[in-house]
Amino acid sequence: MLLLAIDTTTRICTAALGDHEKIRAEYLLNVKNTHSQRLMPLIISLLKDSGIGKNQLEGVAVNIGPGSFTGIRIGMATAQGLSQGLHIPVVGVMTLDALAEACTFYSGLICPILDARKNQVYTALYRGGSAGPEMLQPAAALSIGELGHMLSAYEEEVIFLGDAVESFRGELKLILGERYREAPLSSRFNRASLVLQKGIKVWQEKGPVSPYALKPFYIRLPEAEKRLWEKKQGGRV
């Protein structure tokens, strides 16, 4: 089952090709250029360099969020377009699920944190294991204080990964003390091979979907809708 995996939900633009036995190719760019400019050329060179024709692809795996709203949509629109044009199904992967795969060998708690701006992180909590990370807490947008509070219910060490580690390392160390762990550099960031790895699992467990059925996972409402909702709540009191 040869899959193309893509992820543009963070600043990293990454794509990989492979199946359950092999990663055939993987590219990753962590530079300033926009995903919209980078993603298609990156996918095209990935196929060309690995000598794989686009018609050999059997599916597309894509990160559906949480992450940058625009980033989610560039990845998904590209995946949906490829899926529609090549007549192959897609599989959506939750960004934090894919990231947690990087530390699945870790026996303690795994806590991916992604920059969600507004002094919050997109996060979820997993326990590592041979069958893959098991989700303990669902995805949410939390402040570091709220995350610390959530983690105080556990006693094990927690390994952190994701692009928000750099910004919140200090605060998290203060909250968790000896329990704080950090994934090594090569396992700390989004990469398409993780989307592939998780995508194959989702494919086997739930099956792939048509490009029309894929749903993004924003977590947050659009600002305008949130304000309207808050106004209504206020009005009711």
Binding site: L39, F69, R73, A77, T78, G81, L82, Q84, G85, P211
Partner: protein, 342 residues
């Protein structure tokens, strides 16, 4: 390209998701437009984040519908065209990303169409024979420009608005009158029951004869002040009269500048109207009336092709591709894209 050329056109620059199939740049085989008006109504305007989310949800089914309505499949296509600007960045990116992925998957050439140029090409879908050189007035929510075209892709900008676009002013006045959104169609309808002579507003004419730029901030301010004055007085201002007077002021300015352009460019044999405001009934009527005696043919698209649609993008894309103007894989959305001067 074969003599039967099918182009798929995608348009997502604002809040309408549209896909269309056009034959040989001239014949609309399908033009599916999914309006998001209902999603934005309660916010009194287009919310970019909501528009982007909606585009992503429906673009693929809209494309399928366009193909099936045209009675063709992906295999019959000869090219894909997408508008890449101007417009809302997040919205444009859905069309651009989808178009690039489809064009790669289907091995089809891709045309990146300037949305404003797309509006002009709605005139190529009217059945009329279009011949260069021609003059064109593009009036929409975001733009007001007078153009001279010597050929495909050869655009000379004769004048443009120095401040608000005509359509933008319609929206603002409609909001001030509590008429809702979008403003163009509601004012057009209301004005039919009004008396334009009830008020006198300044025309949007700038400077001396020969200068073809527009300015609408003057008339906008005058109308807004008038609404405020009348409400403070508690007087009986008839919104229909106000709408009619305001509309007349804007339309007259557009007509006057267009007549100046016609006098300057005597070689032009046709005058095209384009853009959302070209759907305005009063605008069409005034142009018909004023150009009747002139030695120039007036052409404008049917109402459904004046507003944003994929068919006009497909038509423009057909001519782009015939000229070899293919987009590259690193195509990006350009929210502030302008019409280029030549």
């Amino acid at each position: 390209m074969s003599h039967k050329t099918f182009i798929l056109g995608l348009e997502t620059s604002c809040d309408d998701t549209s896909a269309a199939v056009v034959l040989n740049g001239r014949t609309v085989l399908s033009n599916v437009v999914s309006s998001q008006d209902n999603f934005h109504l309660r916010f009194g305007g287009v919310v970019p984040e909501i528009a982007s989310r909606r585009h992503l949800e429906i673009i693929n089914p809209v494309i399928d519908e366009a193909l099936s309505k045209a009675g063709i499949t992906f295999r019959d296509l000869d090219g894909i065209a997408v508008s890449y600007g101007p417009g809302l960045a997040g919205s444009l990116l859905i069309g651009v990303s989808t178009a690039k992925a489809l064009s790669f998957a289907l091995e089809l050439p891709l045309a990146a169409v300037n949305h404003l140029e797309g509006h002009i090409y709605a005139n190529f879908l009217t059945g009329a024979t279009i011949s260069f050189p021609l003059l064109c007035l593009v009036v929409s929510g975001g733009h007001t420009s007078l153009l001279y075209m010597k050929g495909h892709g050869q655009i000379e900008i004769l004048g443009r608005t120095r401040d608000d676009a005509a359509g933008e002013v319609f929206d603002k006045i409609a909001r001030a009158l509590g008429l809702g959104f979008p403003g163009g169609p509601v004012i057009d309808k209301l004005a039919q029951q009004g008396e334009a002579a009830a008020f006198s507003f300044p025309r949007a004419l700038m400077g001396e004869e020969g200068k073809l730029d527009f300015s609408f901030s003057g008339v906008k301010t005058a109308v807004l002040n008038c609404i405020r004055r009348e409400t403070e007085k508690g007087g009986q201002v008839r919104p229909a009269d106000l709408a009619a007077a305001f509309q007349e002021a804007v339309v007259e300015a557009l007509v006057e500048k267009s007549l100046m352009a016609i006098r300057q460019k005597r070689e032009a044999g046709q005058f095209l109207l384009a853009g959302g405001v070209a759907a305005n009934g009063e605008l069409r009527r005034k142009f018909r009336q004023k150009l009747e005696s002139k030695n120039i043919e007036l052409i404008y698209p049917p109402v459904e092709l004046c507003t944003d649609n994929g068919a006009m993008i497909a038509s423009a894309g057909y001519y782009y591709l015939r000229q070899g103007r293919r987009a590259s894989w690193d195509l990006n959305a350009v929210p502030n894209l302008e019409l280029e001067r030549v």
